[in-house]
């Protein structure tokens, strides 16, 4: 390798560094300009003073933010009991769609049917139908709780998506892995459990993380059927104070959770891609 300067860098390294510096400069300058444009131009708009007062009101923000945080705990709670149920059910559905034995063919059909149905209906509709429909049967307390049926709606919907991701992972494991396991005399169940699934699950962790980030956001849909979680709480404050700032507070709270999670999922994905190449 030809060394060109005192630090012992190659020509290529020097060239790449120059490129990197230049693109950083471009990105930095354009960000600053875009930011300035927003900060300078938006306040010039005729309605800005009104928007500022109703969306970015400091007093309202300070007063409502802690209570929004409390309400967000309900979102987190619903997430915490839905996520394991979704993982388990999603895995079961994915396995049902992969059964090899012809005798269990109906299971495959059921799995396909299930994922088609629940991926085909908007989440909010499923939440409405199950969340209002089932308690409408006149069930006694606590079985009429919207928490139960709203959560069920989320579990049914999200497990359909999660099942599809698991299935894509299972299919991505090379066929010869199955042959190799079977040639050793392992049963189909052991082949799946010890050989296919561990590889499939590792493969789909980033995608599943993105799914669960979406779930955390969609928990807010339960507000339509009763639970006073963060979105509903923000709505209550909005009516009380005739001000939209609580919605901005709620959005910030969601972002504080979802942005790091999304970054982490992307990081995992990038790491996997690097390992594979």
């Amino acid at each position: 390798m030809k060394k060109d300067d005192a630090a012992g860098k190659t020509r290529r390294q020097i060239y790449e560094e120059k490129l990197r510096r230049r693109s950083l400069l471009i990105a930095g300058t354009s960000t600053v300009f875009a930011f300035l444009a927003v900060v300078v131009l938006v306040p010039l708009a005729p309605g800005w003073e009104k928007v500022k007062a109703s969306f970015f009101n400091r007093e309202v923000f300070v007063e409502t933010f802690p209570k929004l945080l409390d309400a967000f705990l309900i979102d987190v709670m619903i997430f915490v009991w839905c996520a394991p149920a979704i993982t388990a059910l999603g895995l079961l559905i994915a396995l049902a769609r992969d059964v090899q034995s012809p005798a269990l063919f109906p299971l495959r059909i059921f799995g396909a049917f299930y994922t088609d149905i629940f991926r085909g209906v908007p989440v909010v509709l499923t939440v409405y139908l199950i969340g209002f429909g089932i308690p409408g049967l006149g069930l006694p307390r606590p079985f009429n709780s919207p928490y139960i049926w709203g959560s069920l709606a989320l579990i049914l919907t999200y497990s359909a998506y999660v099942a599809e991701i698991f299935r894509s992972g299972i299919e991505a494991v090379h066929k010869s892995q199955r042959s190799a396991a079977q040639s050793l005399g392992l049963t189909d169940g052991d082949t799946m459990r010890f050989v296919i699934l561990p590889q499939a699950i590792r493969q789909v962790i980033p995608s599943q993380m993105n799914m669960f980030i979406a779930l955390q956001k969609d928990v807010a849909l339960l507000s339509f059927i009763g639970p006073v979680e963060i979105f509903r709480q923000a709505g209550v404050f909005k009516s009380l104070m005739a001000n939209f700032t609580p919605y901005v507070g709620a959005a910030l709270i969601f972002l504080a959770v979802t942005v790091p999670a999304t970054r982490y999922a992307d990081y995992l994905l990038a790491k996997q891609n690097k390992e594979r190449s």
């Binding site: 090379h174 010869s176 892995q177 042959s179 190799a180 396991a181 079977q182 040639s183 050793l184 005399g185 392992l186 049963t187 052991d190 010890f194 050989v195 561990p198 590889q199 590792r202």
Partner: protein, 243 residues
């Protein structure tokens, strides 16, 4: 009685007849090599013998017992017939030792402690004593194939099937894997190989079969098949592959 015998085995994939009436006898302790161009059906024959593919017609006998009966549970048969593939063979999420232990643990219900000494001995015998705790991607291709052979042997099979196990290897690694096959032959293992290694087949096989379009066109001892092939197609294939 032959250890393994195939009678009129037919295998189709849709309209495509891949095995078109295969007859083959493998005696106890014999090494039989299947040669032929790509797509001739060598891999498929081996996969059928291991019951990885159901056959449309014909019978396969192991020790005189028909193992190709439709509806037969394939697992007990597969335990008696080991198979090693061309590539993507080891389980990448397990160390070499775990790869080898998995099947004996699950199928024979043996414990790790029970298995460890005998498996360590197998590793040692095949020159892998210092590779037992490595993951497949930390091993060379030749080492991976030897681990795959050890993994199949740990089930104590009576017959071993090898599907072009050297063709994904760098030329300088082929030798170490072929040495393992010689070792196995000395120990009296019954083996069927699909192979492109003509030199090895000529030197080590007891019988060589030339496949073309799902049929065995010609078979015989390596001396006659390589030295004086009768069928023009065999001659042409050998002329091409020995070049």
């Amino acid at each position: 009685m032959a250890k393994l015998s195939l009678r009129g085995v037919v295998k189709r994939f849709g309209e495509n007849t891949v095995c078109d009436g295969i007859d083959l006898e493998v005696e106890e302790g014999q090494m039989v090599c299947l040669i032929g161009a790509s797509g001739a059906g060598k891999s498929t024959v081996l996969r059928c013998v291991n019951l990885l593919e159901p056959i449309e017609d014909g019978e396969i006998f192991l020790d005189g017992v028909d193992i190709s009966v439709p509806g037969l549970n394939p697992q007990p048969v597969r335990r008696r017939i080991g198979m090693v593939f061309q590539s993507y063979n080891l389980f990448p999420h397990m160390t070499a030792m775990e790869n080898v232990m998995l099947a004996p643990r699950r199928v024979y219900g043996k414990s790790r402690e029970e298995l460890r000494p005998e498996i360590a001995e197998l590793f040692t015998r095949f020159g892998l004593a210092d590779r037992m705790e490595h993951y497949p991607d930390q091993l060379s291709g030749g080492q991976q194939q030897r681990v795959a052979i050890v993994r199949a042997l740990a089930m104590k099979p009576e017959v071993m099937l090898f599907d072009e196990i050297t063709s994904a290897l760098d030329p300088q690694l082929v030798g170490e894997v072929l040495d393992v096959l010689r070792l196995l032959k000395e120990s009296g293992m019954t083996m069927v190989l699909a192979t492109h290694e003509m030199g090895f087949a000529r030197e080590a096989a007891d019988k060589v079969c030339f496949l073309k379009d799902g049929r065995i066109l010609e078979e015989g001892s390596p001396e006659t098949l390589f030295g004086a092939p009768k069928h023009p197609e065999t001659k042409e294939f050998l002329a091409r592959s020995l070049k």
